[in-house]
Symmetry: C2
Subunit: 457 residues, 2 copies
């Protein structure tokens, strides 16, 4: 065996190549001006109907006898189960104990969310897919090149092969730029992770129907439009290599990691999986499982008829939040270096106690019944802000959530002394954390893509 050759641990050029793509708003294949028509055309080319149905009409899905869990007859895809959550101490050790039950989606298998990139005219382009998802209000949005659960690509759907999968797995795959297991919505999923990948193709790549090549600059423009870039694409867009604008920060990296360790240690959250049947505080009707006070979300069923999916039609449950969310980063420049105010969030479905989330992440309606002082911190600040640097409505995962939309905001804020559970991080620090799994939650990762989209570094 010839002696292997060492390589640099860090590829400094790579971040520059992504920065060039972000600076390029003229794509080699499709102009941003023509994009809307292209997407509309893809919508016309693919028949797709979604209708709500009672649980009894969900093909292949039923409530399991003993547990009342909502399951698929194949034993695959996902299940809707119950969760009993107890937070042993108040968030700062002095509040009341929190204790609640809720339905949760359990989907153990790890899927792939992968974007293939390739240079055209010396500029990296991203291969994006026009993908229908039943939960999206506008159905069709831009997704990663590959967005596949293991059931998808091991053919539990008995459908067509996942397009471009070979660029992400197996011996023929391209050059990996990013590859990390990231959590998804911890309030709705039980310990779900997906593999977020960016892979650079080294050879020719055929362009299939429903796919288009866009520069990062074009994608950043589209990220300013409502409901165009889907959640799966946004989380992958938080991963490209980052050019650090400053080696300084309010907290050193050691202090930052220590703060995260402290936050993980001081929360004592007990999670118990329980049957969905007779879940305290929730009532099951023919068409919905809903909270007794009408808060949080409903579990509902839909029937889907589609043309361009791996299968031609299916039924499935979806989680439907009861209102529009607000998801915001407060930002502030300290000594010329932009920082974002993150919160250490407990979400019941996280693998570890906490992950870092946005400054504000909530559906305000869920708190309308509470006193002002019990409202989520900084919600008022976000709603009344006038220095809005970024604003768009985005949908969460349309394959599991119905009309789950949130107004994403990046706000220029005054200097704030962070209360317990909050900290100012530079964007370079966020980028270094997101190379690892389970540090930054999916909503904050969307906001990282938005921060990149407005060129804040």
């Amino acid at each position: 065996m010839p002696s292997p050759i060492l390589q640099p641990r860090h590829d400094a050029e790579l971040a520059d190549r992504f920065a060039l793509s972000a600076a390029t708003t003229r794509g080699a294949h499709l102009s941003t001006g023509d994009f809307g028509e292209w997407l509309a055309e893809r919508g016309r080319a693919n028949e797709f109907h979604v209708k709500r149905v009672p649980f009894a009409d969900l093909d292949g899905w039923s409530f399991e006898e003993a547990t009342g869990n909502l399951v698929h007859r194949s034993g695959r895809f996902f299940t809707v189960e119950g969760l009993h959550v107890t937070e042993m101490d108040g968030p700062y050790g002095d509040g009341p104990y929190a204790d609640w039950h809720q339905p949760i989606i359990k989907q153990a298998e790890v899927g792939i969310l992968g974007i293939l990139v390739k240079e055209f005219d010396g500029v990296l382009h991203f291969l994006m897919q026009a993908k229908m998802e039943p939960g999206n209000r506008n159905l069709l949005q831009l997704s990663p090149t590959v967005q596949a659960t293991r059931s998808n690509y091991t053919k539990a759907h008995r459908g067509a092969a996942v397009k471009y999968l070979e660029y992400f797995v197996g011996p023929e795959r391209g050059r990996v730029v990013a590859d990390v297991l990231q959590s998804e919505h911890g309030s709705w999923f039980f310990r779900k992770s997906n593999r977020n990948m960016i892979v650079e193709a080294t050879g020719d790549v055929p362009l299939l129907d429903d796919f288009c090549w866009l520069t990062l600059g074009q994608i950043n423009e589209l990220l300013h439009r409502d409901n165009v870039i889907n959640m799966d694409a946004r989380t992958v867009l938080s991963c490209p290599p980052h050019t650090d604008s400053s080696a300084n920060a309010l907290m050193s990296d050691t202090q930052l990691l220590s703060w995260i360790t402290e936050e993980r240690s001081r929360h004592d959250v007990r999670i118990e999986r329980v049957p969905l049947k007779h879940l305290p505080g929730w009532k099951t009707g023919e068409s919905a499982i809903e909270h007794e006070a009408g808060r949080y979300f409903k579990v509902v069923g839909v029937d889907v008829v589609a043309g361009n999916r791996e299968v031609t039609g299916w039924s499935q449950p979806l989680f439907e939040p009861v209102g529009l969310g607000v998801t915001a980063f407060l930002t502030h420049e300290f000594d010329g270096v932009p920082h974002a105010l993150v919160s250490a969030r407990v979400e019941a479905g996280f693998l570890d106690t906490i992950e870092l989330g946005p400054t504000v992440q909530c559906v305000p309606g869920n708190y309308a019944h509470l006193d002002k002082r019990d409202q989520p911190p900084f919600l008022d600040t976000a709603l009344q802000a006038d220095r809005i640097r970024y604003e768009a409505v985005h949908s969460e995962e349309g394959g599991r959530f119905l009309n789950a939309e949130s107004r994403y905001l990046v706000i220029e804020a005054d200097e704030i002394d962070p209360p317990p559970g909050y900290a100012w991080l530079t964007l370079a620090q966020l980028a270094s954390l997101v190379r690892h799994g389970h540090y930054v939650n999916v909503q904050a990762r969307t906001l990282m893509a938005c921060l990149n989209a407005i060129g804040l570094r």
Copy 2:
């Protein structure tokens, strides 16, 4: 509020200060030559007796009626429960399914393992404690400054306050050098993490009985002796800031993180907590719960009488492995840069599917009944090695495990093309991973301390 001042994200000097301490073998307080007598004297000063007792004689502990779980009447400390483990695919997708039951220790609370450091004569010294632990064959070993479960320091023991705790928690604590949640033995603990901390004291520190100040160079000398530096100290000693000797490696950091993500994704391990009662494959006697074939470990009980602990006496269960372990890193210099061969290990108690472990980590006796080809990979290589760079016997956590000893080895090996599940990492790459939790298992962290002890970088 005055505008905060930014600071460098990385403190380059800090690693140099630890390197200086490692290069200093003459301590300001206690010479390494006098250490043995000091430790023996501490042993004489503190009465300590451990005797095995039947479960019925364990004060405060009993088998819970419904589950047969072994629990303490206070509901604190830890419990011994059952675990049902199913690995859905063979390790490389082509082996048989693995499926087994085993007892496991459940200890949800996060403890602190903390070493206080302070400069004397311009050199960092580590404050180490002579600590009795019932499971250690020689009872007394060197532990971190603070080694405390939450039960310890919230006084569930109703004992004395934890000494030096104020340097690690609260507003008066010192300057944090390292602070990370690390897993412990995944085969014996269910998702146990401890906070590994190194904190630098900024003011005077009183020296209490049973404590001594040692340079890192002195500790590294003592690490060459059998059973002197306990597990809790060794894991913290894997954390000091590291001076990278090379910016090159066989794999880039992106490839390394991708390999870990791939290993995490391809293993599908289902973990189910089950009652300890009637655990398949295990039999319960008056004094031990043991495997039907006499393999792996026994659960036993001991009665402890001590003088210098937070409490004056107690009973507790311990896990007792059936034989001496072998824990080894194969190392090789590629282009002059030392690499260690790590394995991606599935252990049932890990929070995430796999963590990186040593090349070899096993009790050979557990495999004696198997064909040669079913023996753990590289075990023969380790046992027959002649280029041994490091060798010592160390104990695992003596507060939970009885006579749990392993021969720790660092071996100079030939160039090996890593089989699936194995990879060559530089020691700088291991050091960068260990800044984060759940990447490197506790046995590999001990070996990192040993690699530091022989000056391999």
